[in-house]
Subunit: 356 residues, 4 copies
């Protein structure tokens, strides 16, 4: 199914090279002021062609709201958003109709569905994430009502890593094209991506996301733990291979006596002195910063010839064409934020019925 969320639920549609992509947001409470400029600015952060280190495909990604908003406010009915596909150079893909590109979804879609829209990856293209970003912008508007803030940034490209988030000024993220708030690291990252691009290759990266001011109590016990939904949401983004929050994989090596976060009281609030828990205990937010890392593999489309097979299993060569990102993480930053916003917005609503 192509839906996400329980009470704040989105359903996306659309293929890379079809007439349009879009999303229905069902469950947005009535009375929310819908700031269309903000939605556009979020889409602009994700759109292709932003800089020399992103794909040169041209899409203006202008959205149109078809329903659910009246006189600038949400009405409680479904908000439908459509984004037309403009730059549909489908002929770039006609040579791929029968060939399975390595580490793409061509083979698995074909096996699952029997047929597929092969143009630009069709439904499996990351173009679908534009719909998520539009919906996520509305989720962010809802979360502003409780002062919740979500900030993601590029924390690693290849083997170049930024310092820990507590040592960064996150307001600097948008100051450079790689979206790393540490300028010296950003410079190195950009150089690496540029180098990789010239080598007609791609490279992986990591996005880190920080969520501040989360109300205490969001998340549901057992299966729908806050971090479990965040994990699912992130892993659903194209090219993601891993998710960790709080102490993450490093926490394996710690002792309980080192890892436990001591409670104390400050200004009438119960807080923790450390935050190995990553702001989530027992699947429920405790009010501290939520932070997590998302690992992205190198983009599968490279500008080199690769061996593969066609539908019949005959040997074939995949020749790199089209316009693609040498590294996905700079454009993934707003996508990570959008998915986080969708998760949090949903839990914010779900929590309204947790007690009498």
């Amino acid at each position: 199914m192509n839906s996400y969320g329980n009470l704040f639920r989105i359903t996306t549609f659309g293929e890379s090279h079809g007439p349009a992509i879009g999303v229905i947001i069902d469950g947005c409470p009535a009375g929310l002021t819908i700031d269309e400029d903000f939605i556009q600015s979020e889409l602009d952060r994700r759109k292709p062609g932003q800089s020399k280190i992103t794909t040169q495909r041209r899409e203006s990604d202008i959205f149109k709201i078809l329903s659910g908003v009246f006189e600038g406010k949400s009405t409680g009915t479904p908000i439908a958003i459509v984004i037309e596909n403009e730059d549909q150079r489908s002929k770039d893909y006609s040579h791929l109709s029968d060939i399975f590109r390595p580490s793409h979804a061509d083979f698995t879609y074909d096996a699952k569905y029997g047929n597929r829209d092969y143009r630009g990856g069709g439904r499996s293209s990351a173009r679908e994430t534009a719909a998520r970003v539009a919906a996520g912008a509305i989720a962010k508007l809802l979360l502003r009502s409780v002062q919740l803030e979500i900030n993601a940034y590029v924390s690693q490209v290849g083997d170049i890593a930024a310092p820990h988030y507590t040592q960064l000024n996150l307001s600097n993220t948008e100051n450079n094209i790689v979206r790393c708030p540490d300028e010296p690291t950003a410079t190195k990252m950009i150089a690496l991506i540029d180098k990789v691009r010239k080598e007609q290759d791609t490279v992986g990266g990591m996005v880190t996301c920080i969520i501040k001011n989360t109300p205490v109590g969001l998340g549901e016990p057992v299966f729908d733990k806050l971090h479990a939904e965040l994990g699912k949401a992130m892993l659903s983004i194209n090219a993601v291979k891993g998710f960790e929050f709080g102490s993450g994989f490093e926490g394996i090596k710690l002792r309980g006596s080192q890892h436990n976060d001591e409670f104390y009281k400050e200004q009438e609030k119960i807080k923790t002195k450390t935050n190995h828990s990553g702001g989530i205990q027992g699947g429920i937010s405790n009010g501290a910063d939520i932070y997590f890392n998302v690992a992205f593999k190198p983009v599968a489309t490279i500008m080199q010839d690769q061996k593969s097979v066609d539908k019949a299993g005959n040997e074939a060569t995949v020749s790199g064409k089209g316009r693609h990102d040498p590294c996905v993480v700079p454009r993934a930053v707003p996508i990570v934020e959008a998915m986080a916003a969708l998760v949090l917005a949903d839990f914010l609503l779900r929590n309204k019925v947790s007690k009498l």
Copy 2:
């Protein structure tokens, strides 16, 4: 909500120290032979008191099927399974009714619900996972019908790590109490856990899971990608802090030209020469081994005094009592397998309607 799965759906209930825990499995196809001995053997792998390196709490974890099975076969109606709680030393916990244990769910449950069953963690206790293991055993029985096999093992305890899974004989996993199939590593892990236990501390660990013979085509595009659901399922297990599949976090450092898995044909099947994809492309299984890692933090309950606060925010001391695991991963192995089985069983059924 306390349900998991779409077509093969479980709903669990029960608190650590209430009368019983249990699960309803809704959506198990009719006609499946229900092997009760197998279900019990799975529960036995998870139950407490198995060895010197697990908690000494005594639960026989004998289950009872209340419905949905007739003359040894599933009838298509809900299968309800109940496991009584026997060893309910609630008094071990009465001193904790008002105190928030560090890095436990006490504070967050209290904030979310206003009241809570504080005995042994109540609903937030890992005791709930026994219900998952019982349900997972039935999912495994269903998956046997397509020869799908799931094998998890302990791959790391503290900083002691086992070799890569391709160098291991997974049939050795149950040969030692730590459930690591590499005997030399297992010996070191056991020694470390024993040392930590004597220090009245705990330590983290990692479970790796290998799924073989997955039919091609399982998983749904976009949000319900196979690895996204596996990630959510794993992150929903108590104490889990991270999930990665295929190349995972290491894949960040690779180039696309290194990471891409080349397709070829062998014995009328399309396969890949390498498997950085971890058996999943575009969210859908490609038939290769699915493999993933699950990071567990050190257990929060330690036998040392810790500073904390009570409900009113007054300073308080949490004194370690009760019977707890010094390291959760040996008992987590069957839980990881159970959750993986529930995910796969659900996608197996969901895939029956993917095409005409």
Copy 3:
């Protein structure tokens, strides 16, 4: 699936002659006082053997809460309720294992599932409704917090009908064994049921339900209209053949000018002078009385020999045995109320997120 409801969700399990039946209530807000005596009293209204006009099967229908309640209050975690089956005279049914009883679910279950628990109808038995009544009692407790009241009664048996609800004193419903608040009508109904019973036959009937003090705004537009969910909930009860609310089927004959309900203001509230709308406009409650009728067919099990076929299609005779109701409606009254309560409780919670 065996679940009902979105936020206040129940999942029932159990067969007529298995070890037990039961229900999990997931989504009951924390902090609700759980009055166990009230739950039992509701179950007692439904249980068999109450009077000469109901089945003589003996079930004490004593329930047990396994989870979700601590110190008398709901904790926000799943409330599991189990009712053991005591009077399992399975041998009454062994002669039916291969024969399809007319107008029962034997044939359709067999076709759908391949096998079935034939004892007493198994899952298709109305015994399952005891679980609904237990859950409905908790829904009623939740609805009391907003003063909402649900009262059903028997409004017709065969061709004997009670006056319109506005002419009845609904507090008299429990005064007689047929549960019709109009005593003269009740006397006739009882006589008719008794006559039918002696003829070894059965007869149909109607239950009318009145809901007072519904908050304005419950129900969701489009598919989940309040009356659409009430209709589904009622039609899901065994033997129900029809549902109408407000003007119902009679409304077909009216003109718009007669049918429209004029708005006016009284004591600072907007009300309607008439109530053909049945308290629901556009799928959403308007604060007026909700009223609806539920049609029940005559019970299919009759004490006469009937022609039928067996699994192989050979002619066979079904001989009436066992202990059955000559008319289902007296015992259906608490079931109708329970289902109505479950619908309203769910919408009460859902409405908490309709606006900012």
Copy 4:
């Protein structure tokens, strides 16, 4: 929520006088040939302005598919359909922005959401059903693969009723503008509607629906009984007040010995001699004709002045303006069929996992 269905799931969006309405169909199996002419012909049956007895609002209701179809076949990805609103005479409604029209959804939407798109009823307008008809057309295409046929017709207008369906030739339904297959009755119905229209009033009616060739086994026991979902689907259509299937409300008066449907074998199939069950036993189709009645109230918008109140509770007069149907049932016929098709398509898919 604005979604319907489990595996074949639709989500509709759009307001009467916004830019567009539409639907996403999620879960249509891949490989279905999408006959666009058929979809358009179904929309044409519903569209306004067809005849003198329907509203004169002009909408061409031309649809556009944005996704999910490639080279004429469904791809398994979401099918998004958009229908632009052309004839948006919003000014017809500006005088109603603060007034609650009697027996409309104005008051309840306002109470529920705080604000509303008052133009033409906004989301509560029956215009939304065009989206259902488009989706239902695709469901019909899917059902054709199992030869299932759905035929609805107008069986009553006011007090003029058609003979029982078994005495009608359903292929005549489209031969007249009222969609009653019995020509003499149709003539009387048309005359009545025309008379009512001239009186600036409206009148109620009934639609009967016949489903032939349903495979045995569709429908789920307990809550999601086939007739319970049909009932919900029908009751979710604007202006519907009642639903009955098989013997319906008349069945109340029968004895079990009269009502039971005797099984027999014919041509290797098990059938029933009578069909009071309406093709459904225990919530599951038995292969016989499914038939049901749907009661529609008179349309609330009448061309007469009516008393009402405004938002503040002040007395106000609603003056009939705009272009409306004097009787809704002729245009409701394709809507009833569409909703029936959506229910059956969903159960067809759900039944694919009922047994091993």
